[in-house]
């Protein structure tokens, strides 16, 4: 076959995608910023008319980043629709799979995405501030551990999910795939390795970040601090839980406003609409929408690893609990409002996921054959909620008496954080644009750091080549004339 040389010039999806507009006032300072993120259209409509038991498979496909989270939320919503309570072993098997996923996801974020800013330093040359730079700096051995960690996490998901990557195990009332003793032993070994790896990662963070005054100042500084409300799933003792429990809400002073069952989310959450974006901004109904502002009177809330720690009273495993206490001792008590501390919170959750994996893998019930309760009730309506790595994820389904979907509503993890991300971007921009002087060099990275802390998930929109999220910042003067455009990947 003859060689065919083509110049490939892929365009990226800038329409409603990674697009930031900054408007200046008469003095040349930032008046407003607008951050548009992609919305994939029509998923709810696509689902209507399909059997609800297909949803754990179908919702896998919403997003290439967190299929396991959608699988779990869909599974729990399916249980609720059929009014069936899965056997204890089935819930544990689902949760064990989920810990394998969390371990992979949080590892990837720290080493490949959020970590480079700290490991390499926010002032490092852009060409170095990526995972390759991290590996060069921390060494090949650690780089291999990172990929090994991902491999182990994938192995756990595959063993329990009955399929690689996109799990196929959950059905209304339980799971289809149990665990045999050989697999259990393998996961137990993986979990022990995972605990060591998570501890190592926390030590690395301690040495490279907390041991560096410049980074600590950056974390504690005002640029990335907003005093918002926080949301997170907690167990009966108000400890962080990724798979089930009640949703805890705390105010900016750390006072618990209340806890609610996920099915009651509409009593607590309302959605604000802005004319400049298709996405809606969820906020706390009881507090109300006051705009993109922080404080006790603003219903803006955040749902991230930092939020989960803030909304809980502690961690459910011993080593993670120690780190939880260190975290608040170092950062001045609860709640912590500094967004960059989310990277540290994520590593504490990594340790929790690893410890919980070991607990579940050594639970005598985990190899039980009693893994499904066959539904017998007439299906109606149900809500399923889990904590996705990047925020509380809710699936709400309505069906007819045959279990055919008539309506679907999803509130995905990143959507919860749309308002706080917008606020963080404005703060970053305001810090770098003073009296019309734009610090071009740092602007993109400071903005990136703002939203990277939230671990926003736009993966669902980036399958097509080249698979990168473009970012375009347009700066307008007080007359709304464009004065500068900064781009990457565009």
């Amino acid at each position: 076959m003859a060689t065919k040389r083509i110049t490939i010039d892929p365009i990226t999806r800038l329409e409603g995608h990674g697009k930031i507009d900054i408007f200046l006032n008469e003095e040349g300072d930032v008046a407003n910023t607008y951050f548009q993120i992609p919305e994939l259209r029509g998923f709810e409509r696509f689902c209507v008319g399909r059997p609800v038991e297909e949803m754990p498979l179908l919702t896998n496909r919403i997003c290439g980043v967190c299929p396991e989270a959608h699988h779990m939320a869909a599974a729990k919503a399916g249980d609720a629709v059929y009014h069936v309570d899965p056997p204890s072993a089935a819930k544990k098997l689902r949760e064990l799979l989920y810990m394998g996923f969390y371990f992979t996801d949080h590892t990837t974020h720290f080493y490949a995405l959020g970590g480079p800013d700290f490991v390499m330093g926010p002032d490092a040359p852009v060409a170095e501030r990526n995972i390759l730079g991290v590996i060069r700096k921390v060494g090949l051995e650690i780089g291999s551990k990172v990929i090994q960690a991902r491999h182990y996490g994938h192995s756990v998901v595959q063993m329990l999910g009955a399929r690689q990557i996109h799990p196929a195990t959950s059905v209304p009332g339980g799971v289809l795939k149990g665990l045999n003793e050989d697999e259990r032993q393998e996961i137990e070994k993986i979990a022990q390795w995972a605990i060591e790896f998570a501890q190592f990662s926390l030590q690395l963070f301690n040495d490279l970040v907390l041991g560096n005054d410049q980074y600590v100042d950056l974390i504690l500084g005002d640029i990335y601090t907003d005093r918002t409300h926080y949301m997170g799933l907690v167990d009966e003792q108000n400890r962080v839980n990724f798979y089930e429990g009640q949703i805890s809400i705390v105010d900016p002073d750390g006072r618990r406003l209340g806890k609610y069952h996920p099915r009651d989310y509409r009593d607590w959450i309302a959605e604000h609409v802005e004319p400049w974006t298709y996405l809606k901004f969820p906020y706390l109904k009881q507090v109300g929408w006051k705009g993109f502002v922080d404080g006790n009177d603003s219903g803006v809330y955040m749902a991230t690893p930092l939020s989960r720690l803030n909304a809980a009273d502690g961690m459910a495993t011993p080593l993670a609990q120690e780190k939880y206490e260190e975290f608040y001792a170092k950062l001045g008590g609860k709640p912590v409002h500094q967004r960059l501390a989310t990277h540290w919170a994520r590593l504490i959750e990594l340790l929790y996921a690893a410890e919980r994996m070991l607990e579940l893998a050594t639970d005598p019930e985990i190899t039980s054959d009693d893994i499904r309760t066959v539904p017998t009730a007439t299906p109606t309506e149900g809500v399923g909620t889990v904590e996705a790595p990047r925020g509380t994820l809710t699936h709400h389904y309505w069906t007819d008496e045959r279990g055919i979907l008539t309506k679907v509503n999803l509130i995905v993890g990143t959507t919860n954080n749309y308002a706080p991300i917008t606020m963080s971007i404005k703060k970053a921009a305001s810090n770098l644009i003073k009296k019309g002087t734009v610090v071009n060099e740092g602007l993109l990275n400071m903005i990136e750091m703002a939203f990277r802390a939230y671990d926003p998930c736009f993966g669902c929109a980036t399958h097509s080549l080249p698979g990168q999220m473009p970012l375009e910042v347009t700066i307008h003067d007080a007359d709304r004339q464009v004065v500068d455009v900064l781009k990457q990947f565009c």
Partner: protein
């Protein structure tokens, strides 16, 4: 410790070529990679070829390639001035690698950077990665149907894949 090592993946299978259909099968034209694979799969009998469909990118996609000598990856693309349904093929190196500057991808790095990471870490990764890309029209709307022009491109894409597979591993580029 566990024998389950990421770098040992080459021991798990005899195949030398990995043919991947990439994309989201329920996101309109983004599903073209899967549809081409479905159309071509029955015509592939060579045990040296593994055929898979993925909705992955970056590190996860790189990890799937460990142990193979050659990868042919079928995906949708949107290019400046491209016409919907146009079929093109090129080496991975012909694509720009935007992540050399930043790791700004929302939740992953680019495939090129991921491959560099894997190679730095000693993973056995293919030298030859060929992209077969089909110009897409609609990639934001959930649907399991392709645009007519994209659907019409399936035979040409299948033919391209079969021709590439017929070439010796090292001869394409």
């Amino acid at each position: 410790m566990c024998s389950n090592n990421f770098a040992d993946r080459q021991l798990d299978h005899p195949a030398t070529t990995l043919l991947i259909g990439l994309g989201n099968p329920i996101l309109g034209d983004d599903g073209i990679g899967w549809r081409v694979i479905e159309a071509v799969q029955s015509q592939i009998t060579d045990p040296a070829v593994t055929v898979r469909r993925f909705s992955l990118g970056g590190l996860s996609l790189m990890e799937q390639m460990i142990g193979y000598q050659r990868v042919i990856l079928v995906d949708s693309i949107q290019t400046s001035g491209g016409s919907c349904g146009e079929v093109m093929w090129f080496p991975l190196a012909a694509l720009p690698n935007p992540s050399t500057g930043h790791s700004t991808a929302a939740h992953d790095t680019s495939l090129q950077t991921a491959l560099e990471v894997g190679r730095n870490l000693g993973a056995n990764l293919p030298e030859h990665i060929t992209i077969v890309a089909i110009e897409a029209e609609r990639v934001f709307d959930f649907s399991d149907e392709l645009s007519p022009a994209v659907a019409a491109a399936i035979p040409e894409a299948v033919e391209t894949v079969l021709k590439l597979l017929a070439e010796p591993v090292a001869a394409v580029f």
